[in-house]
């Protein structure tokens, strides 16, 4: 905090006593840290720890109430992202702002502050792609690209401005292991050329592999600064959540014979235009007491598969989806839920939950089929509130109560609520897509533990996730979805990471896959 002046002067970015409050919340309190030139600096913290607010202050989206920001030793004001870019700060957001129907070049041109002629821009993009040996075709339309390639667009967009500080917000959450490696090579090269990188992630082993300094935030304050190369991941996680991290406990099996609960066979479904993926003869069986993992890079049919299983889209054949022998392919979402097949889609806002409804109202959305919340069509508000309160308490949802609007919760908190809402109903089969996406380490561990416990009670669980670590930790068997086809499920024990990665890469990540095949 009180660094000698000469050291502050040598820092690329230095924050001193930065505070920011919103009505009712102190998002950042007295935050001080510095990033050296060419350093890859990790910013660690749970959801709600104040990372995004801090980054928004640095990138000029929000203004600090108090404190000072120094840039190359000089105090600066950053009133807007444009001003930030002018200083030399670039940011790659977790959610890309790209137009699917436009080409890479057009997307980059749209994001630039100054107008550059198309030919000139193309030349400059090519130069960057070459110097970082990034495979990306400027004339491809975005919807044909994999997530890794889309991320490269954002990175190129930043590099075009010749940044001196690059902020990366959770950049690996949707990448295959090979893509992650490739990204790290790029980031190391960028840093080696003198550009500082502020790297935000929950994945501690990545931070260990990539970063040379880390600032850990908790509840809006800096709780520790460390060198992640020498600190253990467990210790960093504990600093982050301020408590000891619980390992997932696997209760002893129920001793039940392998009983097939969800049987999917010959599931075909055309994707919804324009960018939907067709599902092609998908088949798998989820057994009682097991967690089946479905890996895959985003956009390979995961969302479509979830809709087909939840009943939001019906299958052509009634027998394509069977729960405990009961054909449900033609049943709607409500009937499937009543039968015990519950699903949680990836998108929280507007799909799994209604943001401008209260938590209690969001309970009615999916819990009314299995719980007596509205027998005979009249909503029993008392029972609804009681169940909402139960979920909030059991899953440690940080909120004011059942009357709070779902949209007012942070992403991780809302995810805890949604997962709790489904798990609390004791479904026979639970299908979840990205159960811990954007959720902090502590909450993710709680959600995973709840899934393991539910499986131990004899339910079958299907986890569709792009996070391989999560699948390897949770799943008993694993299959991979690629271009709407599902590979055979194989026991996780004895699976090689590269193998899964190559399956995931499929045709989409051909460049990546090819590179590795030649290596």
């Amino acid at each position: 905090m009180t660094q000698p002046p000469d050291e502050t002067a040598s820092l690329r970015l230095a924050l001193a006593h930065v505070s920011k409050s919103f009505p009712g919340v102190k998002a950042n309190q007295d935050i001080s840290f510095g990033v050296r030139p060419g350093e890859i600096h990790a910013l660690l913290g749970e959801n709600g720890a104040g990372k995004s607010t801090l980054v928004k202050i640095i990138y000029g989206v929000q203004r600090a109430d108090e404190g000072e920001i120094r840039w190359d030793g000089h105090p600066v004001e950053i009133p807007s992202p444009k001003a930030a870019r002018k200083l030399g700060i670039g940011m790659v957001f977790q959610h890309f702002s790209l137009f699917d129907g436009m080409t890479v070049l057009e997307n980059i041109a749209l994001g630039l502050d100054e107008k550059v002629p198309a030919e000139e821009l193309k030349r400059r993009i090519k130069a960057i792609l070459d110097s970082y040996s990034l495979p990306l075709d400027p004339d491809r339309e975005v919807h044909t690209l994999s997530v890794g390639e889309r991320q490269r667009i954002e990175i190129v967009r930043c590099l075009l401005q010749k940044p001196k500080l690059l902020i990366m917000d959770e950049p690996t959450s949707v990448l295959t292991p090979q893509e992650v490696e490739r990204l790290f090579d790029t980031l190391r090269q960028i840093a080696a050329e003198g550009c500082s990188i502020l790297y935000i992630s929950h994945k501690l082993h990545e931070i260990k592999a990539l970063c040379s300094a880390a600032t850990i935030l908790r509840a809006g304050r800096v709780v520790a600064t460390c060198d992640p190369r020498t600190e253990s991941t467990r210790r960093m996680a504990e600093l982050m959540i301020g408590a000891e991290l619980k390992s997932i406990e696997r209760p002893a099996g129920t001793g039940e014979a392998r009983r097939a609960r969800l049987v999917v066979s010959g599931l075909n479904m055309p994707g919804e235009p324009p960018f939907g993926t067709d599902l092609k003869t998908i088949g798998f069986t989820a057994y009682a007491g097991e967690i089946l993992g479905i890996a895959g890079v985003a956009g390979n049919g995961q969302a479509e598969l979830l809709l087909a299983l939840s009943g939001e889209r019906r299958t052509a054949s009634n027998d394509a989806v069977k729960l405990d022998g009961q054909a449900l392919g033609h049943a709607d979402a409500g009937r499937r839920r009543a039968a015990g097949l519950a699903c949680v889609p990836e998108e929280r806002n507007g799909h799994a939950a209604v943001p401008d409804f209260s938590l209690a109202d969001n309970v009615v959305l999916t819990a009314r089929h299995r719980l007596p919340l509205a027998p005979s069509g009249l909503i029993r508000q008392g029972a609804v509130d009681a169940y909402a309160r139960e979920v909030i308490q059991r899953f440690d949802v940080r909120t004011t109560g059942p009357a709070a609007l779902a949209g007012a919760l942070s992403g991780g908190n809302l995810q805890k609520f949604i997962m709790g809402r489904e798990i609390g109903q004791n479904p026979e089969v639970l299908v979840v897509e990205q159960p811990t996406w954007g959720v902090d380490a502590g909450a993710a561990a709680a959600i995973r533990q709840a899934l393991v416990d539910l499986a131990a009670r004899g339910s079958a669980i299907v986890v569709i996730s792009q996070d391989l670590d999560e699948l390897l930790e949770l799943a008993d068997r694993l299959c991979v979805i690629n271009e709407g086809r599902l590979s055979e499920a194989r026991p996780v024990a004895g699976l090689k990471l590269e193998e899964i990665g190559l399956l995931m890469g499929g045709v989409h990540g051909e460049a990546v896959a090819a590179d590795h095949a030649h290596a």
Binding site: Y59, D332, G334, H351, A353, V354, L378, I379
Partner: protein, 345 residues
């Protein structure tokens, strides 16, 4: 703030009306006073207010259910007319009969007539994805022309000196007054009862929940097992049925027959009522009263300040205009920037 904007809109309407009518040579202050205050200050006008508000409230309740579910029925006027026509059909068939059952039968026919007219846009929307905004609006004009045809042709009163109008309804066919000698007919308490019912259904039942969730988050509704097509049908049938009932009440109440003057635009005015009432059934009761005030006050202003009849419509339109404008400004902040827009980061 969202609940304050109707009040701001009313204030702005009064202010602007005062300025505009002063500018073109009327006594602006007294015009606005006559339109907005006199009907409230003179107790003998209150019955009139209730009678004018009742159909507006009944129609707006149905519209609000649809609007909540993202179903934009703009053609309540047509459903209102068709409801009146269907009810009048029953009245003409039963003209020589007596019995307590005749009026309920007419009311039922009114509901069915309005709902049937709204079923056409519902079918086109669900089956062919045709915008209900266009179809329902266009069907209004068809309904009005159909009314003109009936009162000038097959339903013309043979003893009516060739005037284009139906027979006057019989004693068992008109809405009774709520008290001896009062102008206030049965439709007024029914409107209040319907408002309470709609409030209960929207807030406390799964059906009402379905309407709200389909409108707010269609994907979440599908996830929760609600069928958006079914909600579209239900919303259009409900709003058509209520508009039809309002039409029948108007025919069997103040009119007592059908004439070419029957369509006065209540179906359109009710859209303003629904928005003024924030699409909430209780709010709509107040919204209906405000618009009723402008109708009654408009008539007062015609005789006292010699304002043209069109002034009423102008005030109502200003009300909607200011309401929509304040809603936009309450929700969004204006930002003026130079240069070309950039893509948000």
């Amino acid at each position: 703030m969202l609940y304050l904007s109707p009040l701001i809109a009313i204030a702005l309407t009064m202010l602007t009306g005062m300025l505009v009518f002063s500018a073109i040579g009327y006594d602006g202050f007294h015009a606005v006073k006559a339109i907005f205050l006199t009907p409230l200050l003179e107790p003998q006008r209150w019955a009139d207010l209730g009678v004018k508000a009742a159909p507006l409230v009944i129609i707006a309740l149905g519209l609000a259910i649809g609007f909540r579910a993202n179903v934009w029925n703009i053609g309540a006027e047509g459903q209102y007319v068709m409801g009146a026509i269907a009810g009048t059909g029953v009245a003409l068939l039963t003209h020589d009969m007596t019995g307590w059952w005749i009026l309920p039968a007419m009311a039922l026919a009114g509901v069915i007539g309005g709902a049937a007219w709204a079923a056409i846009p519902a079918f086109l929307k669900v089956r062919l994805q045709v915008s209900e905004i266009l179809t329902s609006l266009m069907l209004s004009y068809v309904a009005v022309q159909f009314l003109y045809y009936l009162v000038r042709g097959p339903w013309k009163d043979p003893d009516g000196f060739n005037f284009p109008q139906t027979k006057m309804f019989s004693g068992d066919q008109v809405l009774p007054a709520i008290a001896e000698g009062s102008l206030v007919h049965l439709g007024v308490p029914v409107a209040l009862l319907l408002a309470l019912t709609a409030w209960f259904v929207l807030g406390r039942t799964v059906a009402g929940y379905a309407v709200r969730v389909v409108g707010r988050a269609p994907a979440a509704a599908r996830h929760g097992g609600f069928d958006a097509n079914r909600i579209t049908w239900a919303a259009l049938l409900a709003s058509g049925g209520l508009a039809g009932l309002a039409g029948l009440f108007e025919a069997a109440g103040p009119f007592g027959q059908l004439t070419p003057q029957f369509p006065v635009g209540y179906g359109f005015t009710a859209i303003i009522v629904a928005f003024l009432g924030r699409l909430s059934p209780i709010g709509i009761v107040f919204g209906g009263l405000v618009l009723a005030v402008t109708y009654v006050g408009g008539e007062i202003a015609q005789s006292t300040v010699r304002l043209p009849q069109a002034a009423t419509g102008m005030f109502q339109a200003m009300l909607l205009f200011f309401l929509l404008a304040t809603d936009v400004l309450v929700r969004w902040r204006l930002a003026f920037r130079r240069g070309h827009a950039k893509v948000a980061p």
